[in-house]
């Protein structure tokens, strides 16, 4: 087997994307469709004193106007993950209303929605809605939100904490180990807030069919079934079997399209009220204000070392912003997706992390490419590099000294961490060795010394990361507070002619599932890729699914498909044996046919398929048809890892960082399509570089956003990054059938600290030990002045 697996097959979906023929939600125009526009708060924190819609109602083309007083979705949108206080109290869960009622809690919060015949008329009428606000002081910084004098986001609890949580070893034990450590390295910084910036903004159409009593919601989501479940069971209380959620092509998500947003539910509700379809597509300004942001941790960390540079203990305290409400996965991000990665790739014997998660007068914060793991990696990889400098060790050596030794997870057991997880398989020194080789580390250090003599500021930064992917074993996440299972569904429908439809509950919004999933199904069935269609994104077609995030699609969704493929082959063998008048055990399957071993008697997959649907001459007692659905619940997470190395030159006059080389040696387990994996890594790296050098959401003290457009929010551009040099090692995942670990987030996880480490390295001889991200020219220049 292996005509396709491991080959860089070109992406089938690109034909339509490159021709502009994708089917995005905003491309859909339904008969009698109306258009919605929102009235959004210009303040971060305010009382709503009065809303006057009388002028707007008189405007041309207005169909309906709703405000928070109209009783839509009284329970608001729910949170999907419960994280408790360390004393056992349940987390504080405010109602997240579809429209603000009497209180505004973040800039851009929706106050009213105007539905009109056209978008232009909806916008015009929305301007006529008059809202009286009383502005109140706001707090946007997560640490300041916990000061006693901080304005409260939700008054009922007396302070802003959503929860206060910890993980790892006993705090006093960790403190004691730090107190007696040979050396302690300390860091304080903010892993700043970024905006997801998917190329396609969020877009929804709700269509209530009066005759059928059914809703269809077209939505740019990463997980249609989860949206349907939340919408039906929690927000609107409508029957799940009468709702179809459709998510065809989606132009990028990076996490931001996982969540169930208020607009989705509101439109669904309105469509029935007005008996017509209603569409809303976010514009870029609204996207900055209302898409869930990422990161925003204020960190204080201490790591202790013995005299040889071995880590003896690690203690960190963080304040992690939740935003004004709890978004779908938000509480999981700084806790179970973050604290559980504090072991990193090191043998650290004692670890303690405390997370206070405050509400802030900002839009919600939730998972953004990597989700908690980039923040963990940034901390570990920065602090160990800082320690190396302080202890006058080489940053590669200190890592080699502390690595968990290689283990394959089969003959050697998985590695049990101090923070709840068991790693599947790993060879951390392998990726670092390869990365250093790709760089030519020793030569680089010589070049650096020479460059310094000539007044040039050259630096190298290393980062060796691990991430928990293949999300996730349901029982494990259930015990950690998830309110859903995280299995996946794979359905294989063989048609009478031997053509195959594969239905997956995962969702592709740029990843290339239509290609990769067809590759391995084609190989397993021994048939051409052209005979296989991959279907996703329609709850009426796909039985169930949990969607795509956490680098889970191949590891979990692919495994579910494999299970169904195996069932097809198992049943096919029974039919083949009957037709060939042979015993099943005497058959072998290869190249799309069953052959009686040692003979030339065979029957093709197509003939067996036809027989299954025209069962005239058929095994007794066997059902007709060749159609199987499987649920796959993984037994563990998967743990990709890798080494990223950045080389930078800093302009001494301006502080501008020039990223000269970027090396990524990743281990994502077995690779189905190297081209797609490289693409995922490169895209992720650019996103991580973006956070390190350019991107930052800035709210001022009153909660206004300073960076609400591309004039002020700096996205990385092609000329900001060099050609990314990629390579990989392969350590298969021992617990899933394809041996895959996941590649979607790796790039964004490893890259950020590599870049900042490089900048600090370039300036270290000037006494610079840390620079707040993003390391903009201004920040670098100021660091050089001190």
């Amino acid at each position: 087997m292996g005509n396709f697996i491991g080959k860089s097959v070109k992406r089938r979906e690109d034909a339509r994307f490159l021709r502009g023929a994708g089917r995005y939600t905003d491309d859909i125009k339904l008969p009698k469709m109306t258009q919605a526009a929102f009235v959004r708060s210009p303040y971060a924190h305010a009382k709503v004193l009065n809303i006057d819609i009388s002028e707007a109602q008189k405007a041309d083309g207005v169909v309906a106007i709703y405000t928070g007083q109209d009783g839509c979705g009284a329970y608001g949108v729910p949170c999907g993950w419960q994280v408790n206080f360390k004393n056992g109290d349940t987390m504080r869960e405010p109602v997240h209303p579809l429209l603000a009622k009497d209180k505004i809690r973040h800039l851009g919060e929706a106050v009213a929605i105007v539905v009109a015949e056209t978008l232009e008329l909806a916008r015009d009428a929305a301007e006529l809605v008059e809202v009286d606000y009383e502005e109140l002081p706001a707090v946007t910084d997560p640490k300041k939100a916990m000061e006693p004098s901080a304005p409260l986001v939700h008054e009922e609890w007396g302070d802003n904490a959503a929860f206060d949580w910890c993980i790892g070893n006993d705090r006093t034990e960790v403190e004691a180990a730090l107190a007696s450590a040979h050396h302690v390295t300390e860091m304080e910084y903010r892993n700043h807030r970024v905006a997801p910036n998917a190329m396609e903004p969020r877009s929804y159409i709700a269509d209530y069919d009066i005759n059928a009593g059914k809703w269809t919601l077209y939505t740019s989501t990463q997980n249609p079934h989860l949206i349907r479940l939340l919408l039906c069971a929690f927000v609107l209380g409508i029957p799940e079997h009468k709702v179809r959620v459709v998510s065809y092509d989606v132009g990028g998500g990076f996490g931001s399209k996982i969540y169930h947003y208020t607009e989705e539910a509101l439109l669904t509700w309105i469509s029935k009220e007005i008996g017509r379809p209603v569409k809303w597509t976010s514009d870029r300004s609204e996207a900055f204000l209302t898409d869930a942001h990422g990161r925003d941790h204020v960190v204080h960390s201490k790591m202790g070392f013995d005299k040889d540079g071995k880590i003896v203990a690690h203690l960190t305290d963080e304040y992690c912003a939740m935003g004004a409400y709890l978004s779908t996965f938000a509480p999981a991000v700084p806790t179970y997706l973050h604290g559980t990665l504090f072991q990193g790739v090191y043998t650290t014997p004692l670890i303690h992390l405390n997370v206070v998660a405050p509400f802030t007068h900002t839009v919600v914060v939730d998972a953004y490419r990597g989700a908690g793991r980039p923040e963990a990696t940034y901390l570990l990889e920065r602090i160990i590099s800082k320690a190396a400098k302080e202890m006058k060790m080489d940053p590669a050596d200190i890592r080699f000294k502390n690595f968990i030794p290689p283990f394959d997870g089969i003959d050697e057991p998985g590695y049990q961490t101090q923070v709840a997880l068991q790693y599947d398989s790993g060879n951390y020194e392998g990726v670092l060795k390869r990365g250093l080789e790709m760089l030519g580390y020793e030569d680089f250090r010589k070049e650096q010394t020479k460059a310094r003599k000539n007044g040039k500021l050259l630096g190298v930064g290393i980062s060796t990361y691990i991430e928990g992917c293949g999300i996730a074993p349901s029982a494990v996440v259930g015990s950690l507070g998830a309110r859903a299972g995280l299995f996946e569904v794979g359905h294989v429908r063989v048609q009478p002619t031997g053509k195959v439809q594969v239905f997956t509950g995962t969702h592709s919004h740029g990843q290339g599932h239509e290609t990769v999933f067809a590759q391995f199904v084609a190989d397993k069935l021994g048939i051409p890729m052209d005979d296989i269609e991959i279907e996703h994104g329609d709850t009426d077609q796909v039985a169930f699914g949990m969607g795509t995030y956490g680098s889970r699609s191949l590891a979990v969704g692919g495994s579910a498909i494999i299970k169904s493929v195996e069932k097809v082959l198992e049943k096919g063998a029974k039919i083949a044996a009957h037709k060939l008048e042979a015993a099943e055990k005497d058959l072998e399957y290869a190249e799309g046919k069953w052959t009686v071993k040692g003979t030339d008697k065979s029957i093709s997959f197509g003939d067996v398929s036809l027989t299954a649907y025209v069962p005239h001459d058929y095994p007794e007692g066997l059902e007709p048809g060749l159609d199987f659905s499987s649920f796959y619940d993984p037994s563990n997470f998967t743990y990709p890892f890798g080494t990223h190395i950045a080389v930078v030159e800093v302009d001494k006059d301006t502080g501008k960082v020039d990223l000269q080389r970027f090396i990524a040696c990743d281990d994502v387990g077995n690779v189905m399509n190297p081209m797609i994996v490289d693409g995922q890594i490169q895209g992720g790296v650019v996103q991580g570089v973006g956070q390190a050098l350019l991107e930052e959401v800035v709210y001022d003290d009153s909660g206004q956003m300073i960076t609400g457009s591309y004039m002020d929010y700096a996205m990385p551009r092609a000329d900001d990054v060099p050609m990314i040099e990629t390579d990989r090692t392969v350590t298969p995942c021992p617990h899933n059938p394809l041996g895959v670990k996941g590649a979607g987030e790796a790039g964004a996880i490893g890259s950020t600290p590599a870049v900042v480490n490089a900048v600090v390295d370039a300036l270290s001889h000037l006494g610079v030990t840390d620079i707040q991200m993003p390391v903009t020219p201004q920040r670098v220049w100021k660091a050089m002045q001190n």
């Binding site: 978008l119 800035v698 300073i706 700096a714």
Partner: protein, 266 residues
């Protein structure tokens, strides 16, 4: 990103455009490349009721040499200027300047007249216009007149154009020895600092954009200049320096000095 309602009129001559502008007054806006005006309209920061499109007026998009001068029509796009051999050979500092503006799409639409009339304090052309001592030709209901570059920029998004006036062309003296240096803002790629230097023997003319809310001639630098770039340290003498999220007063002041020096050395 939907503008409020407006009427659109395509003018076929300068005099027609001037007449229309007189008729509609405050309600009207001239439309040239639309790459500053339309984004503002989409955000509803600007809501003209009438757009008078001048982009089709013949004769406004030529680049010619007359006497000792190069005349660039107000409707010349940045791309057109960039591709002009005449400009490249006799006014290279302008070629260098337009090369730094936006990206290909922006350069294909944006015009010199629109850029100057818009007077964005971070735009590139103003520095070069000032250093070259260019002359701006305008036409209004009282006929045509010229405005010296140094008198043109009055403040943030403010010029000395009268309400009924249209820029028709910009006249540059030939420049042999000039260069433009820009420090790009990382998000918008406009100028955090843009410096144009024109040298003539021992004397120098220095135009600076991005640093203050009005582009300016760095007279203190020009006075102090005696052939070496140390004069750059006077880049912000008597200037009120802007501050934003990318460059506060301290950093922007530093950059201004560095870039004036750089331009003097180049």
């Amino acid at each position: 990103m939907i503008p409020s309602k407006f009427d659109y009129i395509k003018a076929s001559s300068i005099s027609e455009a001037v007449k229309l502008l007189g008729k509609h007054g405050y309600d009207a806006k001239i439309l040239s490349g639309g790459h500053s005006l339309i984004p503002a309209m989409k955000l509803r920061l600007n809501r003209p009721l009438v757009l008078i499109d001048i982009s089709g007026i013949s004769g406004m998009n030529t680049i010619t040499e007359q006497g000792g001068e190069i005349i660039i029509g107000a409707n010349c796009t940045h791309s057109q200027v960039l591709k002009s051999d005449l400009v490249k050979n006799k006014l290279n500092i302008v070629t260098q300047t337009v090369k730094c503006i936006g990206d290909i799409q922006v350069r294909n639409r944006g015009t010199i007249g629109g850029s100057l009339a818009h007077a964005d304090p971070s735009s590139d052309y103003p520095a070069t216009i000032l250093a070259c001592e260019a002359i701006i030709e305008v036409e209004g209901k009282n006929g045509s007149r010229t405005i010296d570059a140094i008198d043109f920029f009055q403040g943030i998004f403010t010029t000395s154009l009268a309400e009924d006036e249209i820029i028709t062309a910009v006249r540059f003296p030939k420049v042999i020895n000039g260069n433009y240096q820009k420090f790009f803002q990382s998000a918008s790629r406009f100028a955090v600092v843009g410096v144009a230097v024109v040298k003539d023997g021992d004397s120098v003319k220095v135009g600076v954009t991005g640093v203050s809310d009005t582009p300016y001639r760095a007279i203190a630098v020009e006075d102090a200049y005696s052939g070496n770039s140390d004069a750059g340290s006077h880049a912000i003498d008597n200037i009120e320096v802007m501050s934003d999220h990318f460059a506060d007063v301290e950093y922007r002041s530093h950059l201004a000095k560095v870039y004036v020096k750089k331009a003097l050395e180049a």
